[in-house]
Subunit: 215 residues, 2 copies
């Protein structure tokens, strides 16, 4: 980077860094999966998992049989990345081509939840995956609760970067023959498919209807 | 998990585990971003980054000014997660509700590339982001090459899990009143938006036309 004008670099990095909780919360609330990093036997392990935000903490859950969840539950430091992709930045040069993204990385240690706090957290995790689903299904059994580990990570140490600018091409490239722009990326839900063993007469519930396109 | 019939657990886990390189390669080739985990100052750090597959190795790149890229380039062990979300599994219970996903985790150390190998890797990274773009833009300058770190991770140690089954509800739940099925998830590209400073008369290139819906 020594050949770059330093001011440009600092400006670019500063442009992307965000410090507002509302932008962080919007990203966390609209994402389905996070990537959790933890050190196991001295080496890094990264695994994807569903999550939910509950105010000032992130809720994670998994099987009590999962070795890495147990390591995290015992208080190992974790790093949690939540990434949203919003577009492909097609610049006039390969060098300036990139992605529009929102990228949060949180750091800390997660604590296991028990009792009512655990049950409430599981409800939040279910409704984060399928909004409104908790009111449509039976309550968890004690066997299911015993098989599930639920962890809470305080949202205290985090960084957030947002890339949402037009291509930043050099003047020579802007004057040249190449096209520049952005191709938007979005996640789309398709038409719900009923399970083959669904009992006849069971209607698609409101939670699923709200998620899927009208046909 | 001790109250579960052990055979069921083993079957479920075994069902999801895959060992075929073709399924791994299909996931790697269709994903835009990976999450790299590395240990920095004794703690885990997870960061998202674009990548490309080149045969039996994964190519990563970033700014030479990025501290974590430098740690990786110096031979730190890394874990790289690549995750594709394909659907929301709406089971008859909260416990069995989950996601359809393809999840690869690779382990190893990455080596910096130089010279022609580096230039070729950058071309592959550009064409992974925007297929066909390399032939439409100018070559990288020596300043751009000097500002970019390109790393190659051998695809040797990896695990792959695929969740693509219908909800696996208990018989009591299947006989009950709740709906079950899958809501498909897909990534969609929108109509390309031209940069505000695009010169008049510059047409949308073939690479971008191929990525975006016809209007």
């Amino acid at each position: 980077m020594s050949t770059d004008p330093p001011r440009t670099d600092v400006t670019r990095l500063a442009d992307k860094q965000r410090h507002d909780r509302s932008t962080l919360d919007q990203l966390l609330d609209s994402s389905r999966v996070c990537h959790v990093g933890v050190v196991v036997d001295g080496g890094p392990v990264v695994l994807p998992t569903a999550f939910a935000r509950d105010g000032d903490r992130l809720l994670l859950h998994g099987s009590t049989g999962s070795p890495w969840m147990r390591v995290v539950a015992e208080g190992a430091a974790i790093s949690v990345a939540v990434t949203g992709l919003d577009g492909i930045v097609v610049a006039r040069s390969a060098f300036e081509s990139s992605l529009h993204y929102r990228s949060a990385v949180l750091f800390g240690t997660a604590s296991p939840l028990a009792g009512d706090a655990k049950t409430r957290a599981l409800d939040l995790l279910t409704d984060a995956l399928i909004p409104g689903r908790v009111s449509e299904v039976r309550r968890p059994t004690s066997r299911e609760l015993a098989a599930t580990l639920v962890l809470a990570l305080p949202i205290e140490r985090w960084s957030l970067k947002v890339s949402d600018s037009w291509p930043e091409d050099e003047p020579d490239d802007v004057a040249g023959p190449a096209w520049a722009g952005v191709v938007p990326l979005t996640e789309t839900t398709g038409v719900a498919r009923a399970a083959p063993d669904l009992r006849r007469g069971v209607a698609v519930p409101a939670s699923v209807r709200r998620m899927t396109p009208r046909d």
